[in-house]
Amino acid sequence: MAVVFKRPHALRDVPMHYCPGCTHGIVHRLIAEVIDELGIEGKTIGVSPVGCTYNNYEYFNCDMQQAAHGRAPAVSTGIKRVHPDNVVFTYQGDGDLAAIGTAEIVHAAARGEKITTIFINNAIYGMTSGQMAPTTLLNQVTTTTPYGRKPELHGFPIKVCELLSTLDGAAFIERVSMHNIKNILNAKKAIKKAFQVQMANKGFSLVEVLSSCPTNWGLSPEKALKWIEEKMIPVYPLGNFKGKDLEV
């Protein structure tokens, strides 16, 4: 009998601590599968963010560093400049990347750092109990927008792919989603390509993943996936923003 759900080697055999129905774990798995398929576990170095995935260094078998809130792109820059032949990736949430770490991500992309960022857009601060994220949708209720996100008070959602793809240093930018199997498979393709772009020394690569947070959205896991499809995708259209045809 074929083993359908074999754990990728790049994932450690420990239980993950995420809430039921959270798609962070699926993204971890996709990254690990890509690392396996590219055969790069031994030369990959990952950087964990501050957020619900602060300790995902426990889940990946490759070497890992834990960075201060928002600073993963700078930490990766340091790593990559020491080891240009290694593969370096960051895993960052929307608070981490698009709020406190906006400067670091913009400048890593602008410098064309040969790193890969997996950017988890769940429209919320998961870890700290559901505050507004830069990606929170208009009218979305969070613990710091109890009356809903209002543009005149809280501004507008930040579209990270659109923003970063204006930078010449960014080689590959794509937005994918976790809301069904088809999209999960697409996400894996994008993550693989992003790593390959780095390995071909083409420049900075980023994959934005629309991901669920049933706990802080106050939805069941199934409804949360529906919410991605119906509420998030209209604001954050899926697709490639840069580097689709790059030869890798």
């Binding site: 601590h17 809430c19 039921p20 870890m127 706990t215």
Partner: protein, 177 residues
Amino acid sequence: MSQQEIIIAGFGGQGILSAGRLLAYAGMLEGKNVSWLPSYGPEMRGGTANCHVIISDDPVGSPILNSATALIVMNGPSLDKFENLVVKDGLIIADSSLVQRKPNRNDVKYSGIPATQIASDMGNSTYACIILLGKLLGSTGIVSKENFENALKKVLPEKYHHMIPDEMKALEIGMKY
């Protein structure tokens, strides 16, 4: 006894923290000095939750309990963790629908109540906590029934006030159990 020290523990989502808060509120309405201290942090993510409640005639010193005059547990791990903190002749109340074993100690009073089962039969499993609190009130007289009802009125948002009669019914079931 001039100071009652209660630990309430179980899984997150069982209403552990709110139960403790109600108890503290009722204590305050009795004119006592009270404190309520929750466990906090990532461990709450689907994991365990507990709170320490002190109801005292004197000003409350440390809000952290190193011992308890009463322990209410709503899962097995909580009994394992806190059983030894209960003082001699103290009280352990367990939801026997969820806690499989009895305490190992024989120098404490013990009540096992199938609270979750009873509450589900009442049509709302979140009343389990209230049933257990009822047992605490019944056994210790820590706060009066009236003040508990007043606390419910203060703590619950207006839109949930229609639930108060049922909550009081749950409390009485516990008191008489």
